[in-house]
Symmetry: none
Subunit: 132 residues, 2 copies
């Protein structure tokens, strides 16, 4: 499935930033404008795209419009990458070893020890937080 509008909406880094903002708590537009440093109309357009993709919902509070995150589409994303998840659970270590061997940027003597590196501190693929 993987709705095209969902991917298109999340393709923009500003919109991902907005989604990350709304992950913490619902916010009115003015707060979002101030946070992502864009002009108000531009932010409003981004919010419209997110709304059309179903990623956010609006609650009208007087003149303010409070946007809140709707996790359902992101669950769709999760469902999309479900088939891929088994890939890195099975063969990621072997492949990661190859990649780690390829990179070897400023490592001291990591390459000298074949297959006994028990605690590697890089482990970058898990500590990522949705921040732009």
């Amino acid at each position: 499935m993987s709705d095209d509008s969902l991917w298109a909406a999340l393709a923009d880094p500003h919109r991902r930033a907005i989604v990350a903002l709304l992950l913490e708590r619902p916010r009115p537009v003015g707060e979002i404008v101030e946070a992502c440093g864009l002009s108000q109309p531009s932010t409003s357009k981004h919010l419209r795209v997110l709304r059309d993709a179903g990623l956010v919902r609006v609650r009208q509070d007087a003149q303010r419009r409070v946007y809140a995150l709707d996790p359902a589409p992101i669950a769709e994303l999760d469902a999309w990458l479900a088939p891929y998840r088994k890939l890195w659970s099975t063969s990621l270590d072997a492949l990661g070893r190859r990649l780690d061997e390829t990179v070897t940027d400023t490592a001291a003597e990591t390459a000298a020890a074949p297959g006994e590196s028990s605690d590697e501190e890089d482990a970058d693929t898990s500590t990522t937080s949705p921040k732009d």
Copy 2:
């Protein structure tokens, strides 16, 4: 980190189709061209984008170039939506109640609301909040 090129690469439905194709098994370019119904140069450009995003790698076999999927960036995606995953897995009902309270554009069927007005969202910073 949520690399922009990764999202940009997956934003295109053709490229997602290619990724899905390579999920089954590695394939040479000709096969991908035939599968996604585009011209060969266009497909080659898409493959270049996927390559630059690190999503695929190439193995040269005579004149053929066999493309294979690299699951690591998709793992990055998984890490990105990790903070959101708890939204629909743990507090789905509570959040759903809040969403039910929100007024959407199509306020057709959500007319009858029982008497309750104390609306003050509780900030849940207990999660791994993606700081700005």
